[in-house]
Amino acid sequence: MKIAIASGKGGTGKTTLSVNLASFLAESRKVVLCDLDVEEPNSGLFIKGKLIHREDKFKMIPEWEKDRCTLCGHCHKVCNFHAVIQLGDQIMVFPELCHSCYACSELCPVDALPMIPQKMGELKQFKKEELSFVESRLDIGQEQAVPLIAQTLEYLDKNFDDDFIKLYDAPPGTSCPVIEATKDADFVILITEPTPFGLHDLKLAVDTMRELKKDFGIIVNRHGIGNNDVLTYCQKENIPVLSKLLNDRRVAELYSRGNLIYQKIPEFKKQIENIADYILKLQKEGIR
């Protein structure tokens, strides 16, 4: 079963929930946690496991072979992303704009733009006690998160069978990286905070999940700050509220140090337990 943990607004507790829930579940189940926030991956700061595998990740980009090129101009005409342009008698490729669609390369009549791999980031797999953890990080200067997220999910599918509960720590927002990180999930947990910003971005996230036709539920983090509008909204929209996580400075302090919270605060552990039960029930009732 695949569970994605997402949110519209950043900083609402995706990583906190991901690492605590994954570590807790791993005490009794086969679990793999995967950090798909490849631009700013943070889960690894909380799960300091043993590195068992690392690999570079590549995206394919065209490379101009001057000697073959007849300067017919076909390549830059077919490129919709302005990643291939002609300047005088030179063809220039801008890798950061390239979407690896292969059109320029394969439609070139003289094979003057072969596709070559370019490093875009790295993937690492860790093991901490019974918990497996996979994270990918995008190289600074690479602009597109989607290809790395897609390759990370492929790695996960290949290396972890369906017996595993797979938890994805998704990127913030509602645009393409979030779609990529949630589109093959069986269930999505949207975590928010009970503030006007939290509610506004939650509505966007809910619209996104409905567009994707996903089953989802909501967790309200830092319950007690702000107001009741998030809960009223969930009730009106008939969205299940899985938990209301407590607002406590101790939680923020433990988080600030990179510590797991459920191991230190019993009330928080009880809440994580309830969320875990919800997920196990979903699994049993047959969302795959």
């Binding site: 607004k9 900083g11 700013e40 979407h99 059109a103 600074i140 913030p172 393409c176």
Partner: protein, 293 residues
């Protein structure tokens, strides 16, 4: 006219609350741009009047005319994005997967594929309660945040600032290090990094600053919730010194920010004590630094 961009790497560090305060303090001397188009929140504090709104078109998406399709499958073969599955024996486009490269369009022997312009969102020009103009936007659900809408918002803000002879543009950026952030940063005169003393905050600050360095833009930093973890706060300060990033201010961990937000107010309207003073001093410091550039 100078451009000040506020970013954070990590989400939820207080970037928008602080930017909106600067927008209030800047008043009619500035133009405001909310470039966090993916989860734009600043309008919740600025009470914009949505005076002008326009659709934003960017990129194209494939559509297959089933009447013309001869089911040769060439389109699906060349598509690298699995965007043309076979459903009920028909080749159809999965619009969420389609990246708009047009490769399928070029190889279709039956001329059955058309590439249609995509409406990916809306952008707005508003007058705000701070007596200034704000340019903001809303990206469509699941649309590609390629940075083009961000660039549009910024360019409009620039145009308005030029035409009305304003001193500053104040830009609220987006989290992360990808395309929208790159777009927010391009052309900036001064970058304000808003961080928090948590292991994640520091980690993300370092990554996003690597990106800022590539653009060669001078930067300053506000440490929000500074008293949450003094040890990590010291590590942040050490990093600022090492990288010659201007230290601007510490803000305490204080739920007053949330209370102000709940009332639809910035901290400089809601609070008239310590917090307000820190933010006012920060804004003065930022203006001073930016003017020196």
């Amino acid at each position: 006219m100078k451009e000040i961009v506020i970013i954070s790497g990590k989400g939820g560090t207080g970037k928008t609350s602080i930017t909106a305060s600067f927008a209030m303090l800047g008043g009619k001397d500035i133009v405001v741009a909310d470039c966090d188009v993916d989860a734009a929140d600043m309008h919740l504090l600025m009470q914009p009047d949505w005076e002008r709104s326009e659709d934003f078109y960017s990129g194209v998406i494939a559509e297959i005319d089933q009447e013309k399709c001869i089911k040769c499958g060439k389109c699906a073969d060349v598509c690298r994005f699995n965007a043309i599955p076979i459903i009920d024996e028909k080749y159809v486009v999965n619009t969420l997967n389609c990246e708009g490269c047009s490769y399928c369009f070029h190889v279709c022997p039956a001329d059955a594929i058309s590439m249609n312009e995509q409406n990916v969102g809306e952008w707005y020009i508003s007058n705000t309660k701070a007596d200034n103009v704000m340019v903001h936007a809303r990206l469509g659900i699941g649309a590609e945040n390629s940075g083009k809408l961000v660039a549009k918002v910024k360019n409009e803000a620039k145009r308005i600032a030029d035409e009305t002879d304003k001193q500053f543009i104040v830009v609220d950026g987006s989290p992360g290090i990808g395309c929208p952030v790159v777009s927010s940063l391009s052309g900036a005169d001064f970058v304000v990094l808003v961080t928090e003393p948590t292991v994640s905050g520091l980690h993300d600050l370092k990554r996003v600053y690597e990106l800022v360095k590539k653009f060669n833009i001078p930067a300053g930093c506000i440490i929000n919730k500074a008293d949450l973890n003094t040890k990590v706060a010291q590590q942040v300060e050490k990093f600022l010194k090492k990288e010659k990033i201007t230290y601007i201010a510490d803000l305490p961990y204080d739920e007053t920010f949330t209370k102000a937000m709940t009332k639809g107010q910035t901290i400089v309207e809601y609070d008239d004590t310590n917090l307000k003073n820190i933010v006012v001093n920060s804004w003065e410091k930022i203006k001073e630094h930016t003017n020196k550039i």
